[in-house]
Each structure stands twice: as C-alpha cells, then as structure tokens.
C-alpha cells in the first residue's frame, strides 16, 4: 500500500497532494425493552484525495482503491476549476514532515472479545434496568466498539499510520406513570480504550433506571431567569458547543466581522476562567496523536485568565491568520476533508467548592448532564438531562423540562464561580459540524455557577 500511495502522490501535477486511506471496523449491540433490536458488524475501506492547485481545493472520495492515480487526477481537475474562480488562493502553513506508525495497545482489546460476550454483557445491563421497577416501560442499552486504522501521506513527505480505538456504552431507561407521562434516565460511558471500560457498570445501569422513575415525580421548572449551577458534564457540553466552536479558526477566518468579536486578547469572562483543548488525555475519545493533515497534537489554551488566548487551526487557517497549526484538522471519516475540530475540551479548575457555590443561592437551579443542545452563532439552547432546585443554599427536589438558553457572550460573562472538581467525559455520541457527525470528542469542566440564565417553561 505504501508504495502505491507514494507513487500516486509522485505522479500528481497538483501543488500539494494528500491521500488518506481508512480501514474501519464496527460492532454494535442494541437492546430495546426485552428485544435485541440491533446486532451488526461492519467493515469499511475507503479513501480520499485532496489536492491544491493554484490555490484552489479539489477533492475525490472513493471506495474502489484500485486506481489512486485516477482520483488524484480528478481532484486536481476540480482544484483547477476552483482556482480559476477564486480571488483568495489557499496557502498552507509549514509543518514538520513525519514518518511514524502509531499503534495502540489496549488493556483488554475489544477485537479479541467474542461477539457473544458483547451481546451478553449488554443484555445483562438491559436486564438490570428492566428489573428495577414496574414503572420502567422501555430501555435503550447500546454497546458500540470502533477501531480505525488510518494511513495518511502527503506530497511534503509525511507518511503516517495511526490506530484509533473507541468504545461506548449507553444505558438508557424510560419510566411511565401509566397516565401518559414518560421520563428518561441515562448514563453514558465513552473511552478510547479497551473492553474493561464497559465491564462492571451494573451500578450505573441501576442509577439510570432509578432516575427515570424518580423523574416521574419531578416538578416542572418555572420559566424565567435563574441562577444556575451546572454540573461538570453540562458545563463541559456548554463550553464545547457554545464557546469552543467559536474558537475554530475556519469558522472565523471566512467571517471577518465575527473574527473581530473573537479577537485574541478580548475579555470573555472572570479572571479565574481557563479553557483548553488538548489533543491527548489518557483514554480521551478526542485523542488524535496526529490530525488528518499529519500535524502533531497540541495543548491549546483557548481562554487564559478570562481572555481569549489562542484559536484552533488547520494548516490553511494558520497560514491565513499568521498562527501555528494546532493539530485540530480532523475528518469524521474518509468521506470528508479535514476541518477545524475540537479534541478534548475543558474548563480548568477554579477555587470554589460545590458547597460554597450554592450556599448563598436563595433560589436557583442545579442542572445536570445534557440531553442535547444546539447553537446558532451566539444563541445557544441546551436541555439538562435532569435538575434539582436550589433553595436557601441547599439542593432540593428534582426538576424536569430544564432547557437553558441565551446569548453566549453574556452567559460567559455571567459565570461567577468555578469549582475544583474537574471531570472530563466522553459520552456516547460525538460532535457534529459541516455535515461531519459524530466525531469522537470529550468535554469537561468543574461545577460552574452562572447568573441570570433563561430557562423555558410555563
């Protein structure tokens, strides 16, 4: 393969040529109620060629690997059409060339685990949830393992082979009061690791089931402005979704007006606020030793002492903005070109204990974990998986229907307490951008407190 790839690149008439070939394996087990809803095994083999000719990009994606040179020619042709129409030729920032094989060693490699064991383990968690209470009416228990071997080469001379493992477990329960009210409880585990990460999760299954039942008695939140304490999971999702995407330079460098708002040095929050994106943390789902342009991982300080410190870059955005590439050019698969993406993104620890954070809150909301969210520029909207009321400085009863929304910049400035209990989670899904979904990432934070958050409801 190495020879074929190198020859195809050598024969290219483009100014820059890269080829990425991916082999991917996936196993998925899904139980819903008593039923094994899905059991599947998939293998993928495919490639992408990206060429730069006279400053224009052309791309060719394919499953048939028999004629790489043909795809190099196709991509070059498309690049020439783009170059003829463009007034802003693309330039790539220089990076060191690398030749390396990054193999992974897993403690208990899930590729060696028989399918039967995966089915039985998933089924046992499903059984725990179903058996928890007669009010449990549905379950969603899903095990997924993925393994990718990615070969990357470019005309600068880089040649890389990397392995990326990914394992996730979703433990979902739905409970009903028998009168039409249905509530959910969900626990997730996601790791760039081995099978040991999904074993021994009986207690988590039970927690998911108990929460679904408990939520039946949760009070609907009263809509309006609230002081909100976010748990590490929800705070992590917030910092990734609402803020992190703004630090992706490809989003900014084509939007000059937005770039002004996101100028380095601008103040975004309290002096205690530190936000980073880090290409490697042990077992992090967002880990990429090298990104999909062959650039080595970095730890990028996005916010330092409350001020915007640095953005995330690809080679193209770095050249455009006079910065260094940060190893954030990622593609969700061979069907896509790399774009600027996050890896493991988190708020660093501050100084507040959880008790100190809530002790002065007369009435507020403690919002935990996220069921989903959406942002459109500075507008964001997130659903807490569940929440508690805070009354006179203490955590009270369960609340439901807690959907937080607001303006990112105002909300960041309204963070007035950052905890000391940083926790980073992988979840089971991933990040979506530009039609590329789901890209494995992790997000994290300590507990944080935000003033004046809008919560929907009656």
């Amino acid at each position: 393969m190495k020879q074929t790839i190198k020859q195809a690149i050598a024969g290219s008439s483009a100014d820059y040529t890269e080829i990425r070939i991916e082999r991917r394996w996936l196993n998925r087990v899904l139980f819903q109620k008593e039923k094994l809803e899905t059991l599947e095994s998939a293998t993928e083999l495919g490639g992408i060629v990206r060429c730069l000719k006279n400053g224009g990009w052309g791309i060719s994606v394919f499953n048939d690997l028999t004629n790489l040179s043909k795809h190099v020619r196709e991509a070059t042709q498309m690049a020439a059409i783009v170059a003829a129409a463009t007034s802003e030729p693309v330039v790539l920032a220089d990076v060191p060339t690398v030749e390396e094989e990054v193999r992974v060693e897993l403690e208990h490699d899930f590729r060696d685990v028989p399918l039967q064991r995966k089915v039985e383990l998933t089924q046992s968690y499903n059984g725990i949830i179903l058996g928890e209470s007669s009010e449990i009416v549905a379950t969603q228990v899903q095990y997924v393992d993925r393994f990718a071997e990615i070969t990357f080469a470019n005309s600068d001379g880089t040649y890389l082979v990397q392995e990326l493992p990914d394992i996730t477990l979703l433990l979902g329960a739905a409970a009903s009061d028998g009168k039409g009210d249905i509530q959910q409880g969900m626990e997730t585990i996601g790791q760039a690791g081995g099978f040991e990460w999904v074993e021994g999760m009986e207690d988590r299954a039970q927690i998911a089931a108990k929460r679904a039942v408990a939520m039946l008695d949760a009070k609907p939140v009263v809509g309006g402005q609230h002081t909100v304490v976010l748990d590490p999971m929800l705070a992590g999702v917030f910092i990734h979704e609402a803020f992190g995407h703004f630090c992706e330079a490809d989003f900014l460098f084509k939007n000059p007006r937005l770039a002004k708002i996101m100028a380095l040095g601008n103040e975004f929050g309290m002096a205690d606020l530190q936000v980073v994106d880090e290409g490697y943390i042990p077992g992090g789902r967002g880990n990429v030793p090298y990104d999909d342009e062959g650039v080595r991982r970095e730890k990028t300080q996005l916010i330092k002492d409350g001020h915007l410190h640095s953005l995330m870059h690809s080679r193209e955005t770095a050249a455009k903005m006079g910065a260094q590439p940060t190893g954030n050019a990622r593609a969700v698969s061979y069907e896509y070109e790399p774009i600027v993406r996050m890896t493991n993104t988190y708020i660093e620890n501050g100084t507040f204990s959880f008790e100190d954070m809530i002790k002065d809150v007369e009435r507020g909301v403690y919002a935990v974990d996220a069921y989903g969210g959406q942002t459109e520029f500075e507008q964001f909207s997130f659903s807490a998986a569940y929440a508690y009321e805070i009354v006179n400085g203490e955590v009270g009863g369960l609340l439901r229907n807690v959907v937080l929304s607001g303006n990112l910049f105002e909300t960041m400035r309204s963070i007035d307490a950052i905890g000391t209990d940083l926790k980073i989670s992988g979840g089971v899904g991933g990040c979506g951008k530009g039609g590329q979904n789901p890209l494995p990432v992790t997000t994290g934070a300590p507990h944080i407190r935000i003033r004046n958050v809008t919560i929907g409801g009656k």
């Binding site: 094994l36 059991l39 293998t43 394919f62 783009v82 402005q225 959406q374 909207s381 959907v403 929304s405």
Partner: protein, 441 residues
C-alpha cells in the same frame, strides 16, 4: 452483489442484499467565493440474513471479499434477535421522474454557474451579509435482492441547493438558512430560491423586544417542524410498540383539530425521499396518518409491522427517523415525504389576525423536551414580533414551549393555503397556533 446472495444462500434460511452506488458532486461557496469542489463515489452493501429464525446483519465497502461479508452476517445471526420476519416479494410499480440522465450528467462548471448566480442575487439586495452556498448533484443507484426472488433496482437523482446567509454586527448575529431540491436544474429558479431568505433578512433589519406569556404564534413552513417533531415520533409504529407513544390506543379517535391532516407519501417525486420501493424492497405507498383530526394509522417497516400484526407501510428506510438513506444502518420505521394538508388562509391573513404574537421561521435545539409526551421546548433562531397584525422587528433570546398534542387539538387558529417543501421531505403550510408559552429574556 448476486455473488453475495449466492454465497449466503447455502449458509442461511433467508438473505437480503442492499447495494448502494452513490455519486455526489458538491460545489461550495463561502463568503469569499468558490471554495471547494468534491467528487464522491461511494459503494457499499448491507446483508441481512435469517438463520434458524435469528437475524444477522453486516455492512461493508470491501466488495472484493463477498465471503467475509457473508461470514460476518452469519456470525451475528448466531446471537441475533429471534424473529419470524419474511423478506418480501411484491410487484413494484415504478414512479416516474425520480431520475433524469441530464441531472446525473451535470458538470461541475454548470453547478458553479448556478451557485454564483444565487450568491450574486442575494448580494444585490443585501450587500452587508456573508453568503454561503452549496450546489450538489446526487445520483443513487439502489439495488435490493433477496432469496425469495425479489430483484429491484432504481436510480434516483436530484440537484440540491443549500444557502446560509449571515448578517453580523458586534453584539448581534442573524443567520438565515434554506435549502431547495429538484429533479432537474431548470426547476431551480433563482428568484424562488432567494425570495424567502431576502424577505427574512429584510424583516430582520429592525429588532424588537419580545413579550413573554401565553401567545399566538404563526409558524412558517420551516418553523412548523418544532410542532411536528413530537408527532413524527408518536406516529412511528415502533414508538407505539414500545409503549412510548401516547397515540397507541387512539386509532380512529379524533385527536386533533378537524382541519389537521397528515400524510406520508413516498410517491411524490417533488419530495426528496421519493422512491418506488423502500430499503427493504417493499413497494411504497401513500399512507394517511391523520385525516380530519382523526388518527388513521401509523407508519411501519417490516419488522415492526410483523410484531404489531399489521402490514408494512413501505416505510422501512435506512438512516434514522427522517431517513437520509445510506447503506450502513439497518432499515427501521422512518418517514418518507410528510405532507400537512393546507387550509384556506394566506400567511399574511394569519399574521394580520394576530394582535400580539410571534412569527417563527426557525428554531434551535430541535429534539429538546420530552418529545414522547408531545412536549417541545426550543429557542428561536429566526422569529419576529407581530403587533396589531404587522411584523415590527426580529426578536432574540426567546424560548418557546408547549405540547403539540394539546396545541394542535385545542389551539389551532388556522392553516395557510400554500404548502412549501422544507428540509426536502416536509411539505407544510404556515400554522397559526394560540396559547404557546413564550419566555423572553
């Protein structure tokens, strides 16, 4: 693919092969102009097998190794779900117009020309915006064969335009997105594609402060998805089987305002999901879900239908609840083209009838709230204040919430007389609804 079927035949009781060959040609423009052109040729297979009553499934793009594909599927069937599923064999009535060779043959240069014209048209009226445009042709060749003798194939082609226009000033960013699809490029008129975006940009120039409370809302065709999403879930035969749908025991009952009707129709070529057969080889049909406010039926794939003791409605599609077919995911009950019946008021009539309320064209955070129970809760992406029947400015930081089952039963003010296709697969008029909870900051 027949070699896969042959190799499977000896090892299993039943087998079904789904083969997809997809050619996509997207050209993309960003604020600076043409940014990238991509050619994409994807080919993959999915194999479903039944061995001793157990279901197995594998997918692959490595077509050079059919034996591996068969062996993987057989291996999963050893532990797979016990089912009495039968792969179908029905005559298929092809729909006309779902493929045009001239669409498949469109050159990158021709797509660039259309994209450039759209960009320029927007910039003539609104010079202070960033315009992103994508123009893309898609040609899918789908081939399904099973061991009962089914052997069906169809080519489907379309040309699609995506638009995203942003006006950003410090402290305020306003984005309007839209998409259009057609079977022929000549059916994509530049004026039609740009009209809605330009109207919204004009309406959005002034801002207004939003009221809070229980208010009437006019949802445009694209805003209506917030209301319809809980229904899309509740009408799914699978939700009914799982006991998650509140509609399970309401067949034949009047559950909505009598002016509200809903149909799923795979056979409408104007819809992006048009097909002669679904991803299980079942002939597609027009399925009435709600008629005159009465619950008429649910939509089913083969497996769910079998469990429920009914026939598949030809809604076994790959790729999630609203389709978006690829070869990888197993078929499940999914909508094709969803059509909401029109009413007799114009959108302007509906707006004129409101003293104080909102016009909502788009929401954020779709899928939030307890959808199974019918609850939705969304921030608005594009919404406007209506005062005394007139639009007086754009509002921001507004949360909408309510229960779709309640609102469409008791609080439907009226339906627009004109349906628009939105998201490719939903044809819907404007919907005016009273008593929606509005929380403004």
């Amino acid at each position: 693919m027949h070699s896969i079927l042959e190799k499977a035949q000896n090892k299993v009781d039943q087998a079904e092969v789904y083969h997809l060959r997809r050619k996509v040609l997207p050209v993309k423009f960003d604020a600076q102009g043409l940014s990238v052109i991509k050619t994409k040729q994807i080919e993959g297979v999915a194999l479903r097998v039944l061995c001793k009553g157990r279901l197995g499934y594998s997918t692959s793009t490595d077509l050079a190794h059919p034996v591996a594909i068969v062996d993987t599927a057989v291996a999963t069937a050893a532990y797979g779900d016990q089912t009495d599923l039968e792969f179908p064999i029905h005559a298929i009535d092809p729909i006309v117009g779902v493929h045009n060779p001239e669409t498949a043959a469109l050159s990158a240069e021709r797509l660039v020309e259309l994209g450039e014209a759209i960009r320029e048209r927007i910039l003539v009226d609104a010079s202070d915006v960033e315009v992103g445009v994508s123009v893309q042709t898609t040609v899918d060749h789908v081939h399904i064969a099973n061991t009962h003798g089914l052997d069906a194939e169809e080519t489907r082609s379309s040309v699609n335009v995506g638009l995203e226009v942003t006006r950003a000033i410090p402290g305020d960013i306003f984005t309007v997105a839209d998409q259009y699809g057609a079977r022929l490029i000549d059916d994509l008129a530049i004026e039609d594609i740009t009209r809605r975006v330009l109207r919204l940009l004009r309406l959005g120039e002034a801002t207004a402060s939003a009221p809070s409370g229980s208010l009437p809302i006019v949802f445009t065709s694209s805003g209506s998805i917030a209301l319809l999403l809980p229904l899309i879930m509740g009408l799914n035969g699978k939700s009914v089987l799982l006991g998650l749908s509140p509609l399970g025991d309401k067949l034949g009952e009047g559950i909505f305002d009598s002016r509200f009707s809903l149909i799923d129709d795979s056979r409408l070529v104007a819809g992006a999901a048009a097909s002669s057969f679904d991803d299980e080889g079942v002939p597609t049909q027009r399925t009435t879900l709600i008629e005159g406010g009465q619950l008429h039926g649910f939509y089913y794939d083969l497996r769910t239908a079998k469990q429920a003791g009914v026939d598949s409605t030809g809604n076994g599609f790959k790729g999630g609840i609203i389709g978006g077919s690829n070869f990888r995911s197993a078929p499940s009950a999914s909508l094709s083209n969803l059509v909401v019946a029109t009413g007799d008021a114009t959108e302007d009539d509906l707006i004129r009838g409101i003293k104080k309320g909102l016009l909502v064209d788009g929401v954020l955070g779709l899928g939030q709230g307890n959808l199974n129970a019918g609850d939705f809760s969304n921030n608005v992406a594009a919404a406007f204040l209506i005062e005394d029947g007139r639009i007086t400015g754009r509002v921001k930081n507004v949360m909408l919430s309510g229960n779709s089952y309640d609102l469409l039963r008791h609080h439907l003010i009226g339906l627009g007389d004109q349906a628009n296709w939105v998201f490719g697969q939903l044809s819907c008029p404007a919907l005016a609804i009273d008593n929606v909870n509005v929380a403004a900051k």
